[in-house]
Amino acid sequence: MLTYILKRLLYALPIALSVTVVSFMLVYLAPGDPLNAIAPADAPADVIEALKSAYGLDRPVPVQYALWLWRAVQGDLGTSIASGRAVVTEVFGAVGNTLLLAGIASGLGVLVGCVLGALAGYKHGSGIDRAATALSVVGVSIPHYWLGLVLTIIFSTWLGWFPAMGAGPGGSADWSWDWDHMRYLVLPAVTLSVIPMGIITRTVRALVADMLEQEFVVALRARGLSGMAVFRHVAKNTAPTVLAVAGLQVGYLMGGSILVETVFAWPGTGFLLNTAIFQRDIPLLQGTLLVLCMFFVVLNLLVDISQPLIDPRMGRG
């Protein structure tokens, strides 16, 4: 078990390191000087030189990367060009908001997906099964940014039940768990939950249907176990796979929330990334990417490590 965890950690390290390289190097994909964004095109040469050394752009790229990484490890991601604030402060404020949104959305999606999927798997070929199958196809096919727009039209413009955008009556700074704030969370969270809901429903349905045909389930039934007792066995055997899929989905939502955050003006990382891209704010872009991807890498690692805790057979392999 311990060796498995160690092995998995060793495997994640080079990936994490490569992620830092990609996050740093992406901005160099674009043709032209990254400085173009900061300096006006007709700036005198000495101003450009001064700016270059101020942002460390006068050094070779590998040196820039090494310095950036060294500072990042110490919790310094540089200064945002657009706002002049520390990137770390900006990113972590936004990550909190994205985590809130993605967490609620994936919780909702996984819960509904599991219930629907299990029902569909149990009642194979029934009306519930067909409804769940249809829902899962819609869930993976719907452009969620459009769903957000439609939900806004229905529940905000027409019915006036929920606000159309923002993260609270006084902005995002003073989040608290009361209805005045949570109203703002409803539409974006429901919108975002559709993606994992579809995939989890599909996965659970297939797993449960498959599991019910296994010999051990037939044997359990033959021994006269009640439906609930049989279900406990089925649940226990499907849990590792469902957990793996759900874990990945949470990670995807961390990145996938960009579009939904834009629709609802939710002040999360997607919003930040958008600002960074359109203002060509390089430190902010690099920092946001790095933090988001590290979350994803760590999440993958946690899913992998937790697998053998649920199913001891996996740890021995």
Partner: protein, 288 residues
């Protein structure tokens, strides 16, 4: 099974798949819907009732069903029917091209990696693993954001997102096939690596990769229009569904149905791609 009395002599595998597919009503309806959308897009210059760029300040946001504009007009008074038909051209292009590109590039890399095997294979796959550390939406947005807005840049970004996934499928099938006895037999009979790949490996690999790629079409449509929605894809005044959805957002208070129209087309196309892909997948599973 005694029910099938007709014996099909020497029918190719793809004929059987096509026959199988024709018996799936959902897949066939999806195919017809897609065909209609594709035709409307391709023949837009001949079919569309108006000029997609002709704006009119007086006719802004006419409701659906207005005389002469049966799906209304957009925020600049351009005819919605026309814009939606023309919009399909770019949206479909942006959705389909990256999948095709990733299909060819990814299959080639996967075949190479899987066939060569050993250390080369390991290096290629480990490098591609890095791309799996990025959620796909994030990767697409980050790459096209770094490259800068524009049609070709978003095509590149989406292709880069899909290539590692296709490589993984192609590589795993190639690795399985490569170990089979008949490949060994072909090699001993003196066949060159190239002809072994072309004759014996490719046929086995194309099927699973094809199924995987058809499943990517819907993802690609949604992502491509999403990039335009964010302002990273095509630029105004070009008609494209994602971009139209973005520019019409301000209209949700005056004319919500018009604002929702472009997204509905993304949805219909994407779900049709998905259902067709499901049909193809189950049709191809049955090898008779």
């Amino acid at each position: 099974m005694t029910s099938s009395t007709t014996i099909i002599p020497n029918r190719s595998y793809w004929h059987v798949v096509a026959r199988q597919l024709r018996q799936e009503p959902v897949a066939m309806v999806s195919a017809v819907v897609l065909l209609l959308i594709i035709c409307a897009a391709v023949f837009a210059p001949w079919l569309a009732p108006a000029d997609p760029f002709k704006a009119s300040m007086l006719k802004r946001l006419l409701p659906i069903g207005s005389p002469g504009y049966w799906l209304g007009t957009d925020e600049l008074g351009r005819d919605m029917v026309t814009r939606l038909m023309y919009g399909g051209r770019l949206s479909l292009l942006m959705g389909v091209v990256p999948v095709f590109a990733a299909f060819f590039i990814g299959t080639s890399i996967g075949l190479f990696a899987g066939y060569v095997g050993g250390r080369v294979n390991m290096v290629i796959m480990r490098v591609l693993d890095v791309f799996y550390a990025f959620p796909s939406v994030l990767l697409a947005v980050a790459i096209s954001g770094a490259l800068g807005p524009g049609l070709s840049n978003s095509l590149i970004a989406l292709t880069l997102v899909f290539v590692p996934q296709v490589v993984r499928v192609a590589e795993s099938v190639t690795t399985q096939v490569r170990k089979l006895d008949y490949i060994e037999a072909a090699r001993m009979s003196g066949a060159s690596s190239f002809s072994i790949i072309r004759v014996h490996v490719l046929g086995n690999v194309l099927g699973p990769v094809f199924v995987y790629a058809t499943g990517l079409l819907s993802v690609s449509m949604i992502l491509a229009s999403g990039l335009s929605f964010l302002g990273l894809g095509v630029k105004p005044p070009e008609p494209e569904w994602g971009l139209m959805l973005n520019t019409l957002r301000s209209a949700i208070y005056n004319n919500p149905w018009i604002a929702a129209l472009p997204g509905a087309f993304i949805f219909i196309t994407s779900i049709a791609f998905n259902l067709l892909a499901d049909g193809v997948r189950s049709a191809m599973d049955i090898r008779r």
